[in-house]
């Protein structure tokens, strides 16, 4: 939650992002005002006129029933982890466990956000986690407020789909 999924999609989408954020009432409210309860939706028109549809899920675990719905037929998956959350490695574990079958069949890219706010855990600890779980996935430190960083994650995803 609060890792920047909504922000990242806004950075890419050429339409105003269809957004289902509402006021947060729980501990989340301490960190940010609004949270996604259904999905984010953005679009990018590709050079051949096709539309790339980008969906963002709600981050909080109680909405996990949406994860499967939004993953249906997806080309790829980007997981964002808030490094300033209470237990970022636990969050990563939650997502990777949940999406493991999908990831094994396709791939995923991991972005660790807000490393400027919390420097620990460092990327080393994420590398260790991935190694222990025998996962070979691209992982970046990102600031999703920078469009370049979001573009890099998509590039990595495309590269993994093509060559990984």
């Amino acid at each position: 939650m609060g890792a920047g999924k909504t922000t990242a999609i806004s950075a890419l989408s050429e339409i105003p992002v269809i957004n289902t954020d509402v006021r947060a009432t729980d501990e989340a409210a301490l960190r940010k005002e609004r949270t996604t309860v259904a999905m984010d939706y953005g679009e990018m028109t590709l050079p051949d006129g096709q539309k790339l549809r980008i969906y963002g899920t709600p981050g909080q675990e109680r909405f996990s029933y949406m994860w499967g719905i939004l993953m249906e037929g997806a080309l790829g998956l980007i997981i964002l982890v808030d490094n300033a959350g209470d237990n970022p490695l636990g969050d990563l574990d939650l997502y990777l466990t949940h999406f493991r079958p999908y990831i094994e069949a396709t791939t995923a890219v991991i972005g660790v956000t807000r490393m400027d706010v919390a420097t620990e855990p460092g990327l080393e600890q994420y590398y260790d986690y991935l190694m222990q779980n025998d996962l070979q996935l691209p992982i970046f430190s990102v600031d999703v407020r920078e469009r370049d960083n979001v573009v890099m994650m998509i590039e990595a995803l495309v590269a993994m789909l093509e060559f990984g």
Partner: protein, 126 residues
């Protein structure tokens, strides 16, 4: 979040709703971001999950009505083989979800639920 007193009052109103109308099987009040605050039922539904899903659905409803410029979304009705579920706004922060197993009780479900929602809104305003 609602304070404890609010929760208690809200719960009383839900209880009254279920007692008064025998067709209504369950009622739950949830925050817009999917935390249940009060619930009451005759059966054994997983009302926490229903509350969270209700918030998702309500926000999709709001998104759709905004897209169509149809003002605010009053309620969403899901009519099913085994019954009917209604989702409606109580106020800016809360959603009421009610359900009946009677396939012909839609009007009653809506009427009673709407009144209940208005009552909850009123007590919370005080």
């Amino acid at each position: 979040m609602l304070s404890n007193i609010d929760t208690e009052q809200t719960h009383q109103l839900l209880k009254a709703l279920i007692e008064k109308s025998s067709e209504i099987n369950a009622a739950v009040v949830t925050t817009l971001d999917g935390h249940p605050c009060a619930k009451e039922q005759r059966d054994d539904y997983a009302l926490e999950r229903l509350a969270t899903m209700g918030s998702t659905l309500m926000s999709l409803g709001d998104t759709i009505t905004a897209e169509l410029k149809m003002g605010t979304c009053r309620n969403i009705i899901s009519e099913n083989e085994g019954g009917i579920v209604a989702f409606m706004h109580i106020n800016e922060d809360l959603v009421l979800i009610t359900l009946t197993q009677q396939l012909n009780a839609l009007g009653m479900l809506l009427a009673h639920s709407r009144r209940c929602a208005a009552d909850i809104a009123k007590t919370l305003k005080k």
